[in-house]
Symmetry: C2
Subunit: 402 residues, 2 copies
């Protein structure tokens, strides 16, 4: 296996670091539009299998050339979701395996955006799934932590614990704090704006997929391992599109523990039009307001040393357990920033995202996972994934009654 | 008198329109960096005394040339406060009378910005007041509505109603709404950010000038003429610097009826660094985040037809009245958007700002007001000003007990 990681940002760098401890691949190339970022990762790791390269992730031809020159067999897309389609298409044309952690972008319904769906996350990828299958090619989509590990945990619940699932509710919460900043998101603000201000999508077996208002249906959820209560609201996320394709559930939802302050910031950005990606003209140039918001905030990848706390990803599964009784269980994974900083010098959120595609690559390398077409994480057997996560990768997951 | 108005934005345009009904001057030139904006005003008014010109308000030489070529005797600065000093200095060197509605910018204290003052609004102008006096030249500073009419009203209270003033508290509030916008400030967001996020300055006769936290000391004040209760907070404003120089008061404060939503927006912009004027680099260019915020919002000068409601400027005066008893009176002026739109096609806030320098120019033209040096509105007799405002200019002011 020859791996090509596109993007030497927080998640790409963390994946390269985690993979460096494993022996399942021959070469790994990390590429970025800024070659110096990619070179820095390679120099730091000093792994003879590693090399750095330059790439324009918006250009299918640039990506195809790089796949050819590196001999890549597996491409991990670790750039922002605007670039999903050129990378996905390049992999198809080059005949290599594709993995991503965020899927192709959605388009809201033009008339009733908070009621009906138009184009969902990943729809552009699933639209060509039959072509991938016909060519015997594999795309593993949404294999970060959320989507990703959350989907693996839902599949585990179905296979091991439940007879019938009433509801899958993905819940993400944290108690992370960044010292010295009034406001410092621990994840890309560009992506956070995208997912939080788009209409959230819910799934209901009878109704199908439907849209609701951003930040709707707030609930206080008690996260495990000392994180405690966090207010969670509906947010657009890939799991709602992925899970119903392979898991038999009556309802699927995603809720994000944004907290009151973050919700207020996002609502204000939206009110002022600062979330927009359409350029405005000012002295100095024509710029996208959302890019300016991102440029004003500290780079999340650099915040690790100043961060404290834990982040939790997981899925609440409610339904009839194998013993015939009603059960409500939260399957989760917690990353502690102190641990991830000590281990890989990466902050908890990007590290927790990056570990999952590395495990998936290892399972693909030894043939434990295999398939054809465009497949979500829940399309594969969850047990070997979770065994590897807890075992060789040394990162525990858990279940609590909720 | 030959008038030169610098700036064909909302306030400059409104001043040109109001002045066009009056006979006290010979010529009026309106100049802007965008000549078409100035030409539009002149074409609309069709007043043979009027002409349009182009100017770079940041260049002292450009302004001096324009003063010379137009034969201006009086310059009204109607551009944003970043350009106060080049215009002020150009008028001194050209030997003409200067008027403005916002004064030179402040600089916060480097160590204890919310406790001590460093450079106050107007300090750079008052620093050379003796030179203006020596040359027999006059600068009338802060002669809009606030500062401006508020200072005139305070002077009136001292001269007519009070023996001893304990407190002058300028209070500004409105019930303006803009149809069809989630958020549409009725005044320049650039200036609003500047004044609302800088440390507010208070004056105490014993302590002198001192600074406090932005948005501090919230109070609900009931504004007259149907506007009703509005939450007001401490905001940096010129009156606090101006009034103690000519009016004998124990305390001076300025409070702005921003309302909860606007305060929240400003706090969020500050938290994210979007209030900053220091350029950030993004795809498209190096831009000032504050300029981008302004570019995302509708131009306040264009909102008049969609606006509804009234805006009130005034000063609460508390102390011992001429009859020896304690009195607490609010001297105020209200502008109704419907009235100002019908009269001059200008929205209420810019119209209420623009009427005052026109009245001041008329009082200077007929010699009712005269002086040498750098003088605030409260340095002149308030009675003829208020008589002209209510009489020939047809805009009533009032007093209520509060």
């Amino acid at each position: 296996m020859n791996i090509l990681i596109l993007g030497a940002g927080g998640v790409g760098t963390a994946a390269a670091k985690i993979a460096s401890r494993r022996k399942f691949f021959n070469t790994l190339t990390i590429a970025d539009y800024d070659l110096s970022r990619a070179k820095k990762v390679v120099e730091e790791l000093n792994d003879p299998r590693y090399s750095a390269s330059e790439v324009d992730a918006g250009s299918k031809e640039s990506i195809k050339k790089l796949i050819e020159s590196t001999g890549a067999t597996h491409v991990l897309n670790a750039v922002d979701p605007r670039f999903v389609m050129p990378i996905f298409d390049a992999c198809f044309e080059a005949g290599v395996t594709y993995l991503d952690m965020a899927m192709s972008l959605s388009k809201r319904h033009e008339e009733v955006p908070f009621e009906k769906v138009n184009v969902k996350l990943g729809d552009d990828q699933f639209a060509v799934a039959d072509q991938w299958e016909k060519q015997g090619l594999l795309a593993v989509v949404g294999i970060g932590v959320e989507p990703g590990l959350s989907d693996v945990l839902a599949r585990y619940a179905q296979d091991v614990d439940f007879d019938e699932i009433d509801e899958l509710r993905v819940l993400d919460g944290a108690n992370l704090e960044v010292e010295g900043y009034d406001f410092a998101p621990s994840f890309s603000i560009w992506t956070t704006i995208e997912e939080c201000l788009n209409p959230p999508i819910l799934y209901d077996r009878e109704r199908g997929w439907y849209a609701v208002e951003p930040f709707s249906d707030p609930e206080i959820f008690e996260f495990p391992e000392g994180i405690g209560e966090v207010e969670c609201v509906n947010v657009e996320h890939e799991e709602v599109s992925l899970m119903p394709r392979w898991i038999n559930a009556k309802k699927v939802a995603f809720k994000y523990g944004l907290g009151e302050e973050f919700i207020n910031v996002l609502k204000t950005l939206n009110k002022l039009g600062l979330d927009s990606t359409d350029p405005v003209s000012v002295k100095g140039g024509d710029v996208s307001p959302r890019d300016v918001v991102a440029a004003c905030l500290p780079d999340p990848a650099t915040l690790g040393p100043k961060m404290k706390g834990k982040t939790c990803a997981g899925v609440l599964v409610r339904g009839t357990a194998k013993n015939g009784e009603f059960a409500s269980k939260y399957y989760y994974h917690v990353a502690d920033n102190e641990h991830t900083m000590n281990l890989d010098g990466c902050q908890a959120v990007v590290w927790q995202t990056a570990i999952n595609p590395v495990i998936a690559l290892e399972l693909l390398a030894d043939g434990t996972w295999s398939g054809e077409g465009v497949l979500g994480p829940e399309a594969f057997d969850a047990r070997p994934f979770l065994e590897l996560l807890e075992g060789d990768y040394g990162s525990a997951w858990g279940v609590v009654d909720r």
